[in-house]
Symmetry: C2
Subunit: 456 residues, 2 copies
């Protein structure tokens, strides 16, 4: 007997309604990326495991989906490999995996094409990635990433442009209440120096990264647990609690970091980014300097970003930062850059929660032609021809069916208008034009209908 | 030491230049699909092997990429499974595979969502699929399919709309010399009956499917080898060699198929499809009735299509047909429909060969701002702000560098225009505006530049 089909755990289908909304988000992001000179790149779903393994830590290696070699995949495996377990057998039976993020494939691409690329190379990439994570609400095993990176330049104009792009994307999406939190790795280094915890930077960062989740008291406890002295944590407390305008915070920190060359360099970078931002007379730039922003610090070396939408359940929707060595692991050192990523699934959820998807995010047919008999169906085809000639998304109900069934189809498919054609309509050349949302119906000539539709 | 990274065999990166051209093709296809009421669907890359296996024949099962279970993938495997070989071990260590086409995932989606779908359901799907085929020129292990299907209706309007959509897509792409070959499975059945080879239909079709490759003599030989009598092949010969207009061929076949109910039904369908086509006053419909067109017949049950571009090396770029049972294998019988697929890689190759990609298929920045020093760079940022405000894709060279290096960047990235800013330009407010293709350069105010750019 036939089986009842299912989807793999943690994966999703995107039907027409979701696709319309998702494409609305993708399209806003792409338009902005391209306006800023970023060009599209796509890399394969599969990468060699030699490219992927060791790039995401032990946990990441575990979470890679591995693809069995094709054909007789056991041909290189010995019984002793099997007996030794999964870990030893793996390299004998699998050489490829599904990509885990877009950064490592991007680095591989840059290395393989470095002689042909125009540097600085600005690329964006919007593709699914796969992680064998335990699925849970909002966490999937296949999800899209949406990255933009510039490599091959240290210019801080790139950081400013990231802020500008985030502002433009969110304006296009209609998300108004958000903050672009910015910090700088060197400022964090400077703080550890200033509080007397030099060298404890990554412990410091791991702890403050949890501030939102566990609160300041537990963060200080965690610092102590990680070998930061009581005295240092006490010194950290007022720094982490800094308030005021960006300018006030910077002034305060300049004082605190006066003996840290790195810390002052971080401040200087931040000032330059903000100064350049002024050239681009935004009404509001949404930037907030947040010394408690840490992000995956092992990777980043300069400015770091995170975007939070306010007053929604999952606020963090975008992040990124500057790194100084994208491709060293593939033998090409010193290629620095800055990148960031939009979390499309989260932006989707935020926009649903705020109920701000516009009408245009609804991909559907504009007009359905409904008919009563063979004659009106035939007449309907000629009407359809006229509608499509002027580019109107339109269809005719293909079968002969009761009008109710045809109207049901229009409703189920969320079609905006119907044109109902019967013998009366053919005789008078006045067609019944119905707005499916309002229920309003008029008898109009085809010409009048085309005129009305062209207004939308 | 670092490794030299490589791509898995049979896979490709698509850099900015290729992406621009590919997106041009995708976008033309999507626009047409949506205009005809087809809505987008995306399904995951991975499907359960229970969904995929047995749907593509034994060879297809071999060509599925299988994904190892995550974690300790050997936990369910016994030593006897290993000893028995790949085939027995496989189900113990792998439950998922990469999708092989878009039809089976579509059928799964329809079955899983049948209570919510508006029938007839018109969907299009543009996604990569994976096959562990031996890579060769024009054949990849990861490639995009681009399908449109309607299920839940027997209406032949759908067949006509396929012809219309193909015409519109090719018009948008600028492909002018092509044929939409059409045939009907029932006509092929009728022919086998008429020549006295009843029941030998699939042998007949396998043979004529090779006509283009091996020629008529070898096709007849193959028929004989497959148990079709000498007499029958002799009768087939003039039918396969039918020439004339569509109407002439139809008239001729009506005579030949006069005793085959099925054959005459096929002819009737064809006539209806062509009659409906007349409603849509195309200048040229490109349809050619080709009795030698067979296609994968095990699947199709009605009209079949194939699109050939003339005077190029690989001509066949699209195909499809009607089937009467999409979802029976998943326990939902009698859902009939019609679908077809554009071969995007082949269309890409055809357009390259004909050199007809238009300027708009070139995704690149329109304007690069080039500067001499810190002051002109700063001034350049304000110019950049003005360009982007009116939506012009533009960028500034982010580093301080010699003009030659900046011009090289513009050339390498295929940027259309540069605006060169030095102290003279700032003083006179006349910027050097250069057309990078023609080399022509003028001194213009920013306002004049914006005016010129808005013309393109």
């Amino acid at each position: 007997m036939s089986q009842k089909p299912t989807l793999p755990k943690g994966t999703r289908d995107f039907g027409p309604a979701q696709m319309g909304k998702r494409n609305f988000i993708f399209s806003a992001i792409k338009q902005v990326f391209e306006k800023y000179g970023f060009m599209p790149l796509e890399t394969p779903a599969m990468e060699n495991l030699s490219v992927l393994t060791g790039k995401y830590g032990d946990e990441g290696d575990q979470l890679l989906f591995k693809v069995l070699n094709s054909g007789d995949f056991l041909s290189k495996a010995k019984e002793t490999d099997f007996a030794a377990g999964s870990k030893q057998l793996l390299p004998k039976i699998s050489e490829k995996g599904l990509k885990y993020d877009l950064t490592v494939p991007f680095a591989r691409y840059v290395v393989m094409n470095r002689h042909d690329l125009a540097l600085p190379f600005k690329r964006y990439q919007i593709q699914p990635v796969w992680r064998a994570d335990r699925p849970q609400k909002g966490r999937y095993r296949e999800f899209y990433q949406c990255d933009a990176d510039v490599v091959g330049t240290n210019s801080l104009i790139c950081e400013t442009e990231i802020i500008l792009m985030i502002n433009e994307v969110f304006a296009k999406l209609g998300i108004k209440d958000f903050d672009i939190k910015i910090n700088h790795r060197k400022i964090l280094t400077g703080i550890t120096q200033a509080i007397g915890a030099t060298g404890k930077e990554s412990d410091f960062c791991v702890a403050i990264d949890k501030l939102d989740k566990i609160g300041i008291d537990k963060v200080l406890e965690e610092m102590k647990g990680r070998g930061i002295s009581e005295e240092a944590t006490q010194k950290a407390l007022p720094i982490l609690a800094l308030t005021g305008t960006i300018e006030e915070k910077i002034a305060h920190l300049k004082n605190i970091l006066q003996n840290s060359e790195e810390g002052l360099q971080g401040i200087k970078d931040l000032e330059e980014i903000l100064e350049t931002l002024k050239t681009f007379d935004l009404d509001q730039h949404h930037v907030d300097f947040d010394v408690t922003l840490a992000r995956g610090l092992s990777y980043y070396t300069g400015a770091i970003f995170e975007v939070k939408v306010n007053n929604v359940s999952i606020g963090s929707v975008s992040g990124g930062g500057r790194y100084d060595d994208l491709t060293g692991v593939f033998g090409v050192p010193d290629l620095s850059g800055v990148g960031f990523s939009f979390g499309v699934d989260r932006i989707y959820d935020v926009m649903e929660e705020l109920d701000i998807f516009p009408e245009e995010a609804r991909t559907s047919t504009e007009v359905l032609i409904i008919h009563f008999d063979d004659e009106s169906k035939k007449y309907g085809l000629s009407v359809l021809n006229q509608l499509r000639k002027v580019g109107i998304k339109s269809e005719i109900y293909p079968d002969s069916a009761k009008p109710k069934k045809q109207f049901d189809y229009a409703n189920k498919k969320n079609i905006s208008y119907t044109i109902v054609i019967g013998s009366d309509e053919i005789a008078t050349q006045k067609l019944s034009f119905k707005n499916m949302a309002s229920g309003q119906q008029e008898k109009l000539t085809l010409e009048e209908i085309l005129k009305q539709l062209s207004k939308h």
